[in-house]
Symmetry: C2
Subunit: 199 residues, 2 copies
């Protein structure tokens, strides 16, 4: 069975950097945006649209009822949400089948649960997440501290709802991960060099 | 400043084993029961009594009021609880001052917060905690699964309440730790050999 490392991460915590460095250190494949690119290719939807769908919990259609009978109203947006999730699941299963790899986000820890992946969760306190976001932000981004804090909270809320919807599990609950890394006071470089030795 | 590693742990998760192995691997002091022994020496109380006090949240005395005036009623048990906590705090601060060390439990992560300890939290799912408890139990312990589960839950509830009372923080909340290790599927030996390289 291939060696699979999945990474859940709070926005701005450096989870993506940990994933990239870990795949470099181990010389194995790294998948992140690649999942979106592949879904876009297969569904003929734009990458931006797929990305947007994958960062939000779908809005569940309510069945209409007359008396005691329920009728499902066709809802193309809902169907598309499910179609994208199904593609995502198939692509992640294929990637994990192909070779050892690191997969960031995308419910990969849940989708690959039968392959026993090593499940990392990366987090940090709000202050250090804001600092990291400022360092990586485009030069023309001019968010106030309050706006940036709200943006981080909103993205994580969306991730949490998306994860809960498709996995019925609680995102970031440490019982769903093998190792949870707080990057607030930790050097990501040193941490990755250390974790790589686990494999 | 000395290298201090503190370990919070769920009962039965192997946190003590991680602490002992880590101190062996790094060749540094290990403190666990030693804190209780030292408190007992200084307070002239029995180790068993000190241990019992340290595993429960103290019962807060309610002030009596007449009209708008509050009167504190002397409560020897409450005073003793606080005296034991104060001894615990002083002993842990002394230990951390003396040399590099690993300290298990006892709110050490909070007591030593100004010394920037590396804060580990060790946890596992209920099934593997029960398995570990059975392996380590005295031969004459005959608890049913239900009783053992209740015992584990009760001990962790006590630890959580004790920690919350003295630190005003949430025990096991991953933001209060630098690294959280799930021992459910992980070899403690391999994990310790890896973590030791962080230092």
């Amino acid at each position: 069975m291939n060696k699979i490392i999945t990474i859940g991460r709070e926005f701005g915590s450096g989870g993506r950097e940990i994933g990239r460095r870990l795949s470099d250190a181990l010389g194995i494949a790294y998948y992140d945006q690649e999942v979106i690119v592949e879904i876009a290719k297969r569904t003929k939807l734009s990458e931006q649209y797929v990305h947007q769908i994958m960062e939000h919990r779908p809005v569940t259609p309510f069945p209409i009822h007359f008396g005691c009978s329920f009728y499902h109203v066709p809802n193309p947006a809902w169907d598309q949400n499910l179609a994208i999730y199904r593609e995502q699941r198939d692509i992640i299963l294929e990637m994990a089948q192909k070779s050892d790899c690191v997969i960031v986000g995308r419910c990969a820890d849940y989708i690959l649960r039968d392959q026993n992946p090593f499940r990392l969760f990366v987090y940090a306190d709000m202050e250090s997440k804001m600092r990291r976001c400022r360092e990586k932000a485009p030069k023309d981004e001019k968010l106030s501290d309050k706006e940036l804090r709200q943006k981080i909270q909103q993205i994580d809320k969306n991730r949490s709802q998306y994860y809960a919807f498709y996995t019925d599990q609680s995102w970031g609950n440490k019982l769903n991960y093998d190792l949870c890394i707080n990057t607030t006071h930790t050097s990501i470089k040193d941490m990755v060099a250390t974790i790589a030795r686990l494999f």
